[in-house]
């Protein structure tokens, strides 16, 4: 078992890279969705809410199956397990992040918008200079929670054969003749990573004086 530790740590790096990339895409997508929701045009708002509700009501696993097996049949393109996993995780994260970002924007009082308008700020200027800096305070701590969820969900990439941390743990188990010790080690690696990240999140909450990490819908993974 000990000789496999370097392999496990390298795989942990792969898992972190996959989750980070998906989180980044999800954060951009979620922000775009939250901004679209601000536009006073009902069909657009319904579309965004529909998107959110859709991804909150279906398991990420079937999204992953669809992207990996379905999209290549549909569009006649090749999709690697890495690309499929990144896309599926990003889609899911974007739905959650749009809610986090929307809550952040809503946390800034109306008066700020009015004051900015009175001072002659345009909508993009108000967003950029007045709203965003204040909203970010509310957005950051729950984002850490979304990242942890994404990191845990990235374990599903092992099901479509992508060799990340979980798949590596299962391979090590096979190589060492079965048993559950490699799986305990696998769980321990995940725990250490996620616990460390959650402590960063808790420190952020204290620094920014905002409420506790709240687990959002579908946070269990």
């Amino acid at each position: 078992m000990i000789q496999y530790w370097p392999l496990m740590l390298k795989a942990a790096g792969t898992t972190l890279w996959l989750s980070w990339l998906a989180m980044l895409l999800g954060a951009f997508g979620g922000t775009a969705l939250a901004l679209l929701r601000q536009i006073k045009f009902a069909p657009l708002r319904w579309a965004v809410i529909g998107y959110m509700e859709f991804f909150r009501s279906i398991p990420i696993l079937i999204v992953l199956f669809f992207v990996f097996y379905g999209v290549p049949l549909l569009l006649e393109v090749d999709i690697s397990p890495f690309v499929a996993a990144t896309l599926a995780l990003a889609l899911h994260a974007s739905a959650t992040m749009s809610e986090v970002v929307a809550a952040g924007i809503a946390s800034v009082g109306r008066g700020q918008w009015e004051a900015a308008a009175a001072a002659g700020f345009s909508w993009p200027q108000t967003m950029r200079h007045i709203i965003a800096p204040q909203a970010l305070r509310v957005i950051l701590p729950p984002s850490v929670g979304v990242f942890i969820t994404t990191l845990k969900e990235s374990s599903l990439a092992s099901i479509i054969g992508y060799i990340e941390l979980t798949r590596t743990g299962l391979l090590v188990r096979d190589a060492t003749g079965g048993g559950f010790v490699p799986l305990l080690a696998l769980g321990a690696v995940y725990f250490v990573i996620n616990y460390a990240i959650s402590q960063v999140g808790a420190a952020l909450e204290r620094r920014l004086h905002v409420g506790r990490r709240s687990d959002l819908v579908g946070a269990m993974a």
């Binding site: 279906i58 979980t166 799986l183 769980g187």
Partner: protein, 223 residues
């Protein structure tokens, strides 16, 4: 672009879908009930007067919230036979899902218990209420109100998470999508069907939660 959407090819598999959907439903339902019970135990452990018991409860929550469900499922599935237990796929999935969900349930219930001010226990006792009466008439109504919304979220989370049981070889909706998709090459159609099943399940919970919430808490905070 030669792809045309047709449900005709996968029509023969709809009989299996019924069985798979029942497995998803039964697994989720049992996991929710059992994890509320286990979660309540952990939440009470975290309020214990004994420090080791409190630490154990807190550690349980942290471990479950920071470890992927998939890893826990594999652990249960592969470790149980070594302990001399022969678990079926369904049982392994149920144990894994319950253990994991209990970590979240414990936090939800703990938040509910915190919402009852300590003075109320004393006030109720001074009125001559027994321990059970205090729980029934004073604590429960307030706890229930606090946990109502997050409990609904967790019910949905468990239904979605039950899809991972496919990894321990249980025939449920996600595995139906994969097996039927790979034998018919109709992954788009099987995805749509599976998505509809989950959407119906989760949105039923969601809508029921809102409607029951309006009945239970007519004024004030909406769930």
């Amino acid at each position: 672009m030669g792809y045309s959407f047709t449900l005709r090819t996968i029509y023969p598999y709809f009989g299996d879908l019924w069985q798979s959907a029942l497995n998803t439903l039964l697994l989720s339902l049992l996991a929710i009930v059992l994890s509320i019970a286990l979660g309540a135990l952990v939440a009470l452990m975290r309020r214990s007067a004994l420090r080791p018991v409190r630490v154990l409860g807190a550690a349980y929550v942290e471990v479950m919230r920071n470890t992927p469900l998939l890893v826990i499922l594999y652990l249960v599935y592969f470790a149980a036979p070594e302990a001399g237990l022969r678990l079926s796929s369904f049982m392994a999935a149920l144990v894994g899902l319950t253990l994991n969900s209990a970590g979240y349930m414990a936090e939800i219930l703990r938040a509910g218990l915190i919402a009852v001010p300590p003075g109320q226990f004393e006030a109720a006792q001074s009125q001559g209420m027994s321990g059970a009466q205090v729980l029934r008439h004073v604590v429960f109504p307030q706890v229930f109100r606090t946990i109502y919304a997050p409990l609904g979220n967790q019910v949905i989370a468990v239904i979605l998470a039950s899809s991972l049981a496919t990894a321990v070889a249980l025939d449920e909706v996600a595995s139906w999508m994969q097996t039927v998709g790979s034998s018919s090459f109709r992954f788009f159609e099987t995805f749509v069907v599976a998505a509809v099943v989950y959407l119906v399940l989760c949105q039923s919970v969601n809508i029921a939660r809102i409607l029951i919430g309006r009945k239970l808490f007519p004024q004030g905070r909406r769930a």
